[in-house]
Symmetry: C2
Subunit: 133 residues, 2 copies
DNA sequence: TTACTTGCAAAGATTTTGCATCTGT
DNA sequence: ACAGATGCAAAATCTTTGCAAGTAA
């Protein structure tokens, strides 16, 4: 039988922090940020709630070259851009290319449900000579 | 000044293992596999050599949902397919969609160098009712 | 020889878990 | 009250590093 979720201040704060954060924070970054407004929050509980949010599909996780997983509130499908110089990850406002999934089905024996695209290069700030970090 | 690399049996074995492995192994999987033919290999050295191979661009790393980095020998650019049921990662024989990078440039202020696409769904084996694990 | 490599062990960093306690419903 | 949630600390995983010894060039 399925687990009955109940309201949790911690979980909502965690979600809000990820949701309102443009930079796709790591678990520890979320923890640092939340420590201020909820000093009692434990790391173990943070990870537990991140797992729940992932399972519920409210957030998604991804690794973008650093080896550490970064989280992203799921609003609608979108792509990502990763700066190879400073490592920042940003959302990409390009509409989903549904034709790509359709095209892919012609090349594969697998049952393809969808796709994600990650663009990489140098972000505008870095290109403008901004501080590398 | 740049480091002068020299031949290393270990490094080549590690590369070969990743190169000849269709399943995009994790570092520990490479280690397990190599333990047989080179019992003296140490984990620390494995990681060191993986870092070197990455730096040299001979392999690439990526996380595909499990949170653990998987490695892939770089031959030419290609996409990936990730089975959401059994977690296997396979190469995708679809030609690179260069137009996607071109289209993306119109949506972004960043300097876009390229892209990667990851398709997801259920692999042929799982779809055929194969054992889930 | 010189400088890169290696194995080993210790240390780091990140994530997961057991358990007693607390809390939403 | 009951079942899920929390904090804490210990443990498990995965990765990095220091160091003395080994080895390609």
């Amino acid at each position: 039988m399925k687990l009955q979720r109940r309201n949790s201040k911690q979980r909502e704060l965690i979600y809000e922090t990820i949701h309102s954060n443009k930079v796709h924070p790591t678990a520890l970054e979320v923890y640092e940020r939340l420590k201020k407004e909820m000093p009692s929050l434990s790391l173990g509980n943070l990870y537990r709630n991140i797992a729940i949010l992932l399972e519920e599909g409210r957030i998604q996780g991804g690794e973008f070259g650093s080896g550490i997983v970064r989280y992203d509130a799921v609003t609608d499908s979108h792509y990502h851009f990763v700066c190879e110089r400073c490592g920042t990850v940003s959302d990409f406002a390009m509409p989903a290319q549904n034709r790509i999934t359709a095209a892919a089905r012609r090349y594969s024996p697998h049952r393809i449900a969808g796709h994600t695209i990650r663009f990489y290069g140098v972000c505008a700030d870095c290109a403008a000579g901004e501080p590398v970090k």
